[in-house]
């Protein structure tokens, strides 16, 4: 993720907005490069100018001064309507047209661009499929006949309609409940894997920023960039007290949410196959420093945790000894997920299994502590060596 930034899709240069009748500028001399194909999240406290900044990109709000470039081209004064047809636009309130069917809502920009009827119709169906809504069911419904989450999906589909290279999204998942939001976020990230749009995403929720962003711009008052960096580096190495405070407590925990189990060496817990018998198991336990051992079945699937006294008391049989394994994760799980499984099963470790349930290794507190340390060190290193995305000069 901290790969060098690609060519800029959007460049903001000394962008400033002063609302009439206000002494201080809402956005003050902002410089920002948005690399092609990435999600850049603007995050910051309420009223810091995130929305104003985003709306200047498609000139819903006209900047007072400064330059906006789209793929290098100065679009600060180009015709706004044409410019906007090249940018998808999703707002928290969605703003679906209540008197138009879902099909007509999604078809607005294709029709503005004078696509043929057949092409538009095919595109609408494709998009409804893409956002997981059956076209035959929803095509001719009206917005009021949809749930909040469904409307939000249509909002996204509508913005994607003419396949614009850029998407502007202002708190797009802000109006739905946390469960639906989580789902929409995951769906959107999956979509983005394929679509590779350049996205400017506004939120005031740092957790959403960390989850959605390839890069995060933490803004303070007047849209001054406090730090512009990858989520990892913002978490590991906040530029100043403002950023640190904005991340809030639990930066390490949040970082664990970015790391995958498969990327770290597993812990070295003793294992034994149940068919080898108690003596072999006891021997394996003796060879290690641990106090318990993991029993596997014939297909090497985890069965139970057993301790020394279980093995000694059980006599000849291992069939019932020990405690069933409850915490299991797959290698794609995050370390935060592993920790959660560990805590909620009240055991000292989680078992990592492959797709068929076969034993791969275990993750325990030691692994997680070490991973957290490594991540902090790595992020600090890369911050010190400086990437293409230096921290914004502080004190601007």
């Amino acid at each position: 993720m901290s790969a060098p930034a690609g060519p800029s899709m959007i460049s903001l240069e000394q962008l400033t907005k002063s609302y009439p009748g206000q002494v201080e500028a809402a956005v003050q001399s902002l410089d920002l490069e948005v690399p092609e194909g990435e999600i850049v999240v603007l995050v910051g406290p309420s009223g810091c100018g995130k929305t104003t900044t985003m709306k200047m990109i498609n000139r819903i709000i006209e900047p007072t001064s400064g330059v906006i470039r789209l793929q290098g081209e100065d679009v600060t004064h180009s015709p706004a309507d044409q410019l906007r047809r090249r940018m998808g636009y999703v707002i928290q309130q969605i703003g679906l047209f209540p008197h138009l069917t879902i099909e007509d809502n999604v078809a607005v920009v294709p029709r503005l661009l004078k696509w043929s009827g057949d092409r538009t119709r095919a595109r609408v169906d494709e998009l409804l499929d893409l956002v997981g809504m059956d076209p035959s069911v929803y095509r001719s419904r009206y917005p009021k006949e949809l749930s909040g989450g469904q409307r939000q999906r249509i909002g996204v589909a509508r913005a994607l309609a003419a396949d614009p290279p850029v998407m502007l999204m202002d708190e797009p998942f802000g109006a739905v409940d946390p469960i639906a939001r989580e789902k929409l976020q995951n769906e959107f990230l999956r979509l983005q894997e394929e679509l590779r749009k350049t996205i400017v995403f506004v939120t005031h929720d740092i957790d959403e920023a960390i989850k959605m962003g390839d890069r995060i711009a933490v803004l303070r008052e007047h849209s001054v960039v406090a730090q512009y960096d990858t989520p990892e580096r913002i978490l590991s190495d906040p530029a100043d007290a403002f950023v640190a405070e904005f991340i809030g407590a639990g930066a390490s925990l949040k970082r664990l949410g970015l790391a995958r189990v498969r990327d770290y060496p597993y812990a070295d817990w003793p294992v034994a196959a149940i068919s080898d018998g108690p003596q072999a198991a006891l021997a394996a336990l003796d060879r290690s420093d641990e106090t318990s051992l993991l029993l596997l079945d014939d297909q090497r699937r985890p069965l139970r945790w057993v301790q020394r006294q279980d093995l000694q008391a059980a006599g000849a049989s291992l069939d019932r000894a020990g405690m069933a394994v409850r915490a299991m994760v797959e290698p794609t799980a995050t370390l935060a997920g592993a920790l959660d499984a560990m805590v909620s099963s009240r055991t000292g470790g989680v078992v990592v299994v492959d797709g068929r349930g076969g034993f791969l290794g275990t993750v325990d507190m030691g692994v997680i502590m070490k991973a957290a340390e490594d991540m902090r060190a790595a992020a600090q290193d890369s911050a010190r060596s400086g990437g293409p995305l230096m921290r914004a000069a502080s004190g601007t």
Partner: protein
């Protein structure tokens, strides 16, 4: 006017059944599908019966010679048509003036003049219609057009106000997302704002037309005809029968216009609202 409440439960077709709303399901079931035509026909039947009653009275009651002249069926018919003409022409003129003004007043550049414009409309309506009419009669002489001017002034406010309110109540985020998708401001007005404002604007037109039916009775004062002739002569000549028949005809006309306006509102209301 009770006209509003009358159409409120007679002119509205059954809403599509909302499965989540037990009330709507109940009413739909109670109506058993018979509700639309039953409700739609209710008012016209009552109005037709009133007309027939008038006609029968005029034909059969012992009338003196003055009454016979005032209540001549041919004369009544032409007075009614004349009345309808006054209302129709004035309503068309006032719509043609007040709706564009309302649209202009809600454009961003002109938003600040809204209170001023509405204030003018208020003044126009606050002035007694009779006074306006007399003023215009003095200025421009008697006849058809002074009455139209008076009626237009009088009906201006409801339509202007409803146009402004109708456009203002359109969700600003709907407008913003339309602009954000690259629709020109003209296209947003035509395809988003006006369709969404139609129900409110039409309600204003309907109110204005109904008000005009009543107000148009003063046309008789400038010799412009209409049902006012029948009523005012009934008053001056002390013939209650003429007053009653003239008033009933005007009332029927008002209710009929309100009813038709209701149907029009239903027909033009965009789906999905």
């Amino acid at each position: 006017m009770t006209a509003g409440t009358l159409t409120a439960d007679s002119g509205r077709p059954v809403d599509p059944v909302d499965p989540d709303d037990p009330l709507s399901r109940q009413t739909a079931k109670a109506g058993g599908g018979a509700r639309p035509w039953f409700q739609l026909l209710g008012l016209p039947v009552v109005l037709a019966l009133s007309l027939v009653a008038c006609l029968v009275y005029v034909q059969t009651a012992p009338l003196d010679s003055i009454e016979a002249r005032l209540l001549d069926p041919g004369g009544l018919l032409s007075a009614t048509l004349r009345h309808l003409q006054l209302v129709g022409v004035s309503t068309v003129v006032v719509v043609a003036l007040a709706v564009p003004l309302g649209i202009l007043a809600t454009r961003p550049a002109a938003r600040r003049i809204v209170p001023f414009v509405v204030g003018l409309g208020n003044v126009a309506q606050g002035v007694p219609s009779l006074g306006v009419l007399v003023l215009f009669a003095v200025l421009y002489g008697i006849g058809f057009w002074p009455v139209i001017v008076a009626l237009v002034l009088y009906a201006f406010l409801p339509i202007l106000r409803n146009t402004i309110v109708g456009l203002q109540q359109v969700d600003p985020f709907v407008v913003e997302s339309a602009r954000g998708m690259g629709m020109s401001s003209g296209a947003v007005l035509r395809r988003i704002e006006l369709p969404l404002a139609v129900p409110v604007i039409l309600a204003g037109v309907r109110t204005a037309a109904v008000i005009n039916v009543g107000t148009a009775t003063i046309a008789t004062l400038t010799n412009a005809g209409g049902l006012g002739d029948v009523i005012y002569q009934g008053i001056t000549l002390n013939r209650t029968s003429a007053i009653v028949v003239g008033s009933v005809l005007a009332g029927v006309l008002a209710l009929l216009i309100d009813y038709l306006g209701g149907l029009l509102e239903q027909a033009l209301r965009p789906q999905g609202l």
